[in-house]
């Protein structure tokens, strides 16, 4: 089934001068809008207000903003208390520290306690760059995905991050949103639909080329996945690219449909290959439609200092690595 209808995407997607913006920027804009739409929205930050783009909200609603200092554990529980009184708290830090440092507080006082708090982990992934391995969270999606009730969202660009933030504000229950630091190519448009738990096809090979590999990508690597699919199209290999913005709940139907059509899945994420989106896909497929899968991601190791692109290339998540993964599984098939 070729030429599935694609949602509206950035027409300059494949141009060299495609617009770029940090994914976290969309969060800042979305939070400001959510705050304007709902007076119950409040924000907490652990001494990283501009870094996490919360300053837009803070400047407009200072009385609804709590400066926590560098206290991520307390921040999660303070948010829980505010949610218990009917607020819709968003709390942000670097993902390394929240949800990295305060996992138990998130599990007990937010998820187990079932309150409506939103965890915003910025500077996620290897592309944090020169700060080095201490500051490159590659385990956060796994940490959050394991917790019952937790919704996990990994937006692919700043526009999707804005929509995800607005959707999280409307959703009743705990949500984790992971954001990348670096300027990331804009893939979607204001008109691209967004719904929690719904995957979308972002690339179809040209007419006449059968779809033999399915890429499932999330977050900041979406653009690389699309470039890889385009390149493979030129080599006569038909690839469909599925954007998984919501890691949990996973759009299992879309993944099974893709697996049934292609018989070969390549998962692409800026995360450890253990425990993240790739694992979630494998869990879903193994129980209903076992399918060969190649995992593109960080393979059980820590990062290091470098430029974001150096690191993405070095750890096997560049365009060529994704192309190779697709060819590998294509050949096997």
């Amino acid at each position: 089934m070729n030429n599935m209808k694609l949602p509206p995407l950035n027409p300059k997607l494949f141009d060299a001068d495609v617009e770029q913006a940090p994914i976290r920027k969309g969060f800042g804009e979305g939070l400001l809008q959510a705050g304007e739409e709902n007076h119950q929205v409040v924000a907490l930050c652990a001494d990283l207000t501009e870094s996490t783009q919360m300053h837009l909200f803070r400047n407009k609603f200072p009385e609804r903003f709590v400066q926590m200092g560098i206290g991520e554990q307390s921040m999660a529980s303070v948010a829980s208390g505010m949610a218990a009184l009917g607020k819709v708290p968003f709390f942000s830090s670097y993902a390394m520290f929240s949800p990295g440092r305060n996992w138990e507080q998130i599990r007990t006082t937010i998820a187990y306690n079932n309150v409506n708090a939103k965890i915003i982990g910025s500077h996620a992934g290897i592309s944090v760059g020169p700060d080095g391995g201490t500051h490159q969270p590659l385990e956060d999606m796994g940490l959050m995905r394991m917790i019952p009730r937790m919704v996990v969202i990994s937006p692919c660009d700043s526009i999707e991050a804005r929509k995800a933030t607005l959707a999280a504000a409307k959703y009743e229950g705990p949500v984790y949103i992971r954001l990348a630091r670096e300027a990331t190519p804009i893939v979607t448009t204001d008109e691209t639909p967004f719904e929690i738990g719904v995957a979308q096809t972002f690339f179809e090979p040209k007419e006449g080329l059968g779809v033999t590999v399915g890429i499932v990508a999330t977050g900041s690597l979406m653009h690389n996945a699309l470039l890889a699919a385009k390149k493979l199209e030129g080599q006569g290999v038909g690839v469909r690219v599925l954007n998984i913005a919501t890691i949990k709940p996973l759009d299992v139907d879309a993944i099974i449909a893709l697996a049934k059509e292609t018989g070969a899945i390549v998962s692409v994420e800026e995360h450890q290959i253990h425990g993240g989106m790739g694992s979630a896909i494998a869990e879903a497929l193994s129980t209903s439609f076992p399918t060969k899968q190649v995992f593109v991601g960080v393979k059980d190791e820590f990062g290091q200092s470098g430029t974001p692109s150096e690191l993405v290339e070095h750890y096997g998540m560049g365009v060529n690595s994704i192309v190779e993964a697709c060819l590998q599984i294509h050949t096997q098939a």
């Binding site: 409040v42 206290g71 999660a76 218990a84 009184l85 079932n114």
Partner: protein, 298 residues
């Protein structure tokens, strides 16, 4: 809050004794759970639920209620027993503590039992939640809010760094309607608090974080009530009440011994009263007010 006259004090003391009996009965039935902390805190919980708190057991979601956040969730037998006697649920249900399907989970779960403000057990996070509630309340009602947020803490859990993160925030925000009560019973699982990780001088610590601090006898109803009144009167500061309590209070052989922290009657140290007699002896002691009366019927 109504005046605490002599008759009321006497009624509260009798009520606290009932609460202690229920605690022992539920622990015997459960066969596991904590003894020392619940018995030691029975007077404070009784005064809160039968005198100080603005609440309605028949309408646990009443929006204008005061909130009681139990941070050291493991002493929940005293919370459950007091709530039951206050009318939140039948006292008989206390005997389901820790059993499969019970609303009285081994550590409290907010969703399972109406009247619980949060779920707790992992130590150190309750104060942050109480601060969050008070901050949310301030956004809605400003600094004039007359709703109070009580956080009950163990002294052992003051080892947790998160407590001091919350202490800093509450001091910085000058939260007037936050009242912390520390169960200063000097024991934790491995021994005496000052051996495990010294807390003194505890009053100075809290004061240096910007809190109004009082030290009281946690078994004296009048002292507890006065301290709460003082805490309510202090403006522009959060209040901490360091309540000196006797762990295992009310039963001779459980008093002051850290070995009773995490054991129920029947499983505690058998050097004074043999394990098989611990439940009966404890109940008898409480029912006869330590032999002052021959039985509860006289």
């Amino acid at each position: 809050m109504e005046h605490l006259h002599d008759e009321k004090i006497k009624a509260l003391e009798l009520r606290a004794n009932d609460v202690r009996q229920t605690i022992i009965e539920m622990l015997i039935e459960a066969g596991s759970g904590h003894t020392a902390g619940p018995l030691g805190m029975a007077d404070i919980f009784t005064l809160l639920y039968f005198h100080a708190l603005r609440h309605d057991p028949l309408n646990p979601d009443w929006p204008d209620r005061d909130r009681l956040i139990l941070s050291n969730g493991h002493i929940c037998p005293v919370l459950y027993a007091t709530m039951a006697h206050a009318g939140y649920f039948p006292v008989e249900e206390c005997k389901t503590l820790r059993k499969f399907g019970s609303r009285l989970q081994g550590h409290p779960h907010r969703e399972w039992l109406p009247g619980l403000e949060t779920s707790s057990g992992p130590l150190g996070s309750g104060l942050s939640q109480a601060v969050g509630m008070a901050l949310a309340d301030r956004i809605d009602r400003g600094r004039q809010s007359n709703r109070f947020y009580y956080c009950l803490l163990g002294d052992g859990e003051l080892n947790c760094g998160q407590i001091w993160e919350a202490a800093m925030l509450a001091g910085k925000e000058k939260i007037h309607n936050l009242i912390g009560i520390i169960d200063r019973n000097n024991i934790q699982i491995d021994g005496f608090t000052e051996d495990i990780m010294p807390l003194e001088s505890l009053k100075d610590k809290w004061e240096s974080f910007g809190w109004h601090v009082q030290e009281i006898d946690g078994h004296n109803m009048e002292a507890i009530s006065n301290a709460i009144n003082d805490a309510k009167a202090i403006f522009n500061k959060p209040s901490m009440i360091i309540a000196h309590t006797i762990p295992g209070k009310g039963v001779d052989f459980t008093e002051r011994r850290f070995e009773w922290h995490g054991n129920p009657p029947g499983k505690g140290p058998g050097d004074v009263v043999t394990k098989d007699q611990q439940g009966i002896v404890a109940l008898n002691e409480l029912r006869t007010l330590r032999g002052l009366i021959k039985s509860e019927h006289e």
